[in-house]
């Protein structure tokens, strides 16, 4: 994630340097840009609504099947959807950024909010509010009410009139993964519920087994999730809150974990924490719930050896975690392309398709009605922890969508690394972070 963020930031600067400016315009449900808008971008393919995605292996196969199903049943006046794998999220951002300059774009693409913000600034994406509310092609109020509010809210961009510039695609929540064998070896029966318990268990693991308790993957989203779970927030308007008590406690936790050698930092961009957990080398790791399938594979089906639960909390009665995952944005191309893209998004986020996608990929269903789906229920009954991430959707909170947050992410990760490596104290790190992050946001 850190590499991705760095590359995204570099490209953002390049985009700025080559002079893309102006705000995006909204569109009506027919996809017609509002008056006074910049001319639409040319579609990369006139005959199909091209969808740039990053899924690989089995999930790519499933997405291809869903696209085929959609194309087979779509109204004939709509363009078919054409799925194209464009590499990772950073690659997609690079390609979209280059395509914006070339003024030729696909119908839609996946991306994180920070990426979409850059597209909005370049006038490349359309707001989806008109589509969502359209009586003919939008969602009925009860249908819209079926979505978890947080998955919709995360697609509203406060810097751009709070318009909805993307729609949820793959959602997951920050979870704590634990190795039962390592915990049992340390004489621990159940994973921690509070941060105090977590720290105590880390000490116990070290003392009884001699192992590190926690492999840290340096990541801003994880820090955000920890801050939320400590009862705090990371931003208020255009001002960051890294100097507030919740944030200070998070950085002090990392400082203490590092000082007592209870945790170690994994190589950036790797999944060494997952392999360490699978090989009984650590007790805890924190990752997106979508890592479940990867851990399951590494554990070779030995589901009795590990578990996945919500992250520890300052107040377990009022839990919080962070909501992850990319969204789909629709580009400002022709009305035909936009209509086709929206029709596919609507199909993809339908209750039935959402369940298929969740079951096949490990991502979370984004509708409340999924809880009543027999297939979903059967899946949750298979393993005690299968439902844990879904239950987090009620209280998960999205990350900031303000312009400049991509750069702030890098600063947060730098601060986390400085604390873990002992370069700075937690207090000094948060003060410096607050100062630099606020300066970045003030420049926007």
């Amino acid at each position: 994630m850190r590499h991705a963020a760095r590359a995204v930031l570099t490209l953002t600067l390049v985009m700025g340097a080559v002079g893309c400016g102006g705000r995006s315009q909204t569109s009506d449900a027919s996809g017609t840009p509002a008056s006074g808008a910049r001319p639409a971008f040319t579609p990369v393919d006139e005959t199909a609504a091209v969808f740039w995605d990053r899924q690989t292996t089995e999930t790519a196969e499933l997405l291809r099947t869903l696209v085929d199903d959609y194309n087979a049943g779509r109204p004939q006046d709509l363009l078919p959807v054409k799925l194209e794998h464009v590499g990772g999220y950073t690659d997609i951002f690079r390609k979209v950024s280059a395509s914006i300059q070339a003024r030729a774009l696909p119908a839609m693409a996946v991306g994180y909010q920070s990426m979409t913000s850059e597209y909005v600034q370049a006038g490349a994406v359309v707001a989806l509010d008109a589509f969502v509310q359209d009586p003919a092609v939008g969602f009925a109020p009860e249908d819209l009410g079926d979505f978890f509010p947080v998955v919709l809210e995360t697609n509203r961009y406060s810097d751009f009139d709070n318009a909805m510039y993307s729609f949820p695609f793959c959602k997951s929540a920050l979870m704590m993964f634990f190795n039962k064998k390592v915990l049992a070896d340390a004489g621990i029966e159940a994973p921690p519920v509070t941060w105090e318990e977590f720290f105590a268990q880390c000490r116990q693991v070290k003392e009884k087994t001699g192992k590190h308790a926690y492999a840290v993957s340096v990541d801003c989203s994880t820090i955000d999730g920890f801050v939320y779970s400590m009862g705090g927030d990371v931003i208020d308007g255009q001002t960051t809150l890294f100097d507030q008590i919740a944030s200070v406690r998070v950085f002090e936790l990392f400082e203490a974990l590092a000082k007592e050698e209870l945790a170690y930092q994994i190589s950036p961009g790797t999944y060494d924490d997952e392999t360490a957990l699978a090989h009984n080398e650590i007790a805890f790791m924190f990752r997106s719930s979508s890592a479940r399938t990867s851990i399951q594979m590494l554990m070779e089906g030995d589901d009795d050896r590990w578990g996945m639960t919500r992250i520890p909390q300052a107040d377990p009665a009022n839990p919080r975690t962070v909501l992850y995952g990319p969204n789909i944005c629709v580009f400002n191309t022709t009305p035909e392309q936009q209509r086709a893209a929206w029709a596919f998004i609507k199909y993809f986020t339908s209750a039935e398709t959402g369940v298929k996608w969740a079951l096949g990929t490990g991502y979370l269903p984004i509708r409340k009605s999924a809880a009543k789906d027999p297939q979903m229920q059967a899946f949750w009954d298979e393993w005690a922890y299968n439902r844990a991430a879904f239950d987090c959707l009620e209280f998960a909170k999205s990350e900031p969508t303000v312009a400049g947050w991509q750069e702030v992410r890098l600063l947060v990760e730098k601060a986390q690394t400085e604390v873990l490596t002992g370069i700075k104290s937690a207090r000094q790190a948060v003060l410096d972070l607050k100062h630099k992050a606020d300066a970045v946001l003030a420049q926007q």
């Binding site: 990053r54 292996t57 280059a98 090989h279 590494l298």
Partner: protein
């Protein structure tokens, strides 16, 4: 003892250099769990031959190989031709501004690829080369480093050769084709190898200028084993082991010339 020590040092060096390749090949035969073990178990407990079938099922590698070879061989041929001609011109022809022009050519080596990515992509779109072979080939048909290498090679030839050929009525083009180029064969092979490897190993450019499966190259194919939440290390190593075979074969075939050329140009390995 004095005679043995170099062999021991070279042996250790060889082991260090070859270990990653051996690890890659043996990992290609492991299970995912075994492949991610932190212990240094080089040999798989059970050889997983099915990894190869799984690798080829994951992406159309046959098509990717065809594209990679087509692009890499065309680029190599084009780079050899352009660097021979430009290198000869900078080394042997006297024309106004030749030094400034050569300086400009060298200056292009200072510009990072990332900076030119977007302008180049815009150009490709305007030429309507998106998802087409020209996009993969044409931008790489000439490069400053190869021109520099060839210029250095031509400068090392005694000017008497050219003078003698000129007396016999030989023009520049004929001298280049018949006399100069054969004399700098090791450098031609070196330039060709660099061009081939550069083209064959490129990932970002093909990823940006193509989106159709039928136009993708092998390096892009390798990305299918890296997901958002993990890497299929055993399959990635399996695919990597297959993908590097052509480059290894090519290197061994041209090793003698490559070493001669590298030593002649003072290139550090």
């Amino acid at each position: 003892m004095r005679r043995v020590l170099p062999y021991v040092l070279l042996g250790v060096g060889t082991l260090v250099v070859t270990f990653p390749f051996v690890w890659m090949i043996t990992t290609a035969f492991k299970t995912q769990t075994e492949a991610t073990m932190s212990t240094l178990n080089l040999w798989p407990s059970v050889w997983q031959w099915r990894n190869f079938a799984e690798t080829f099922r994951a992406a159309p590698f046959a098509r990717y190989f065809f594209n990679s070879f087509l692009v890499a061989f065309t680029v190599t041929a084009a780079v050899i031709v352009t660097s021979l001609m430009a290198g000869y011109a900078f080394a042997r022809l006297e024309f106004p501004g030749s030094r400034i022009l050569f300086g400009l050519v060298l200056a292009t080596m200072m510009i990072p690829f990332e900076v030119t990515l977007i302008p180049n992509f815009v150009l490709i779109r305007r030429l309507d080369w998106y998802n087409a072979y020209p996009a993969l080939i044409v931008p790489w048909c000439a490069n400053a480093f190869s021109i520099f290498l060839m210029r250095q090679a031509f400068l090392s030839l005694p000017s008497d050769y050219f003078d003698a050929a000129k007396v016999d009525g030989c023009g520049h083009l004929r001298f280049l084709a018949r006399i100069a180029a054969p004399l700098v064969k090791p450098m031609v092979v070196t330039v060709g190898l660099f061009a081939f490897l550069g083209s064959y190993n490129s990932l970002l450019w093909p990823l940006v200028v193509t989106s159709e499966e039928a136009m993708r190259v092998v390096q892009v194919g390798l990305t299918v084993f890296s997901g958002a939440e993990g890497v299929r290390l055993h399959l990635l190593m399996c695919a990597s082991a297959i993908v590097i075979l052509p480059t290894v074969a090519l290197y061994f075939a041209a090793q003698r010339y490559f070493l001669e050329g590298s030593i002649g140009a003072g290139i550090k390995g």
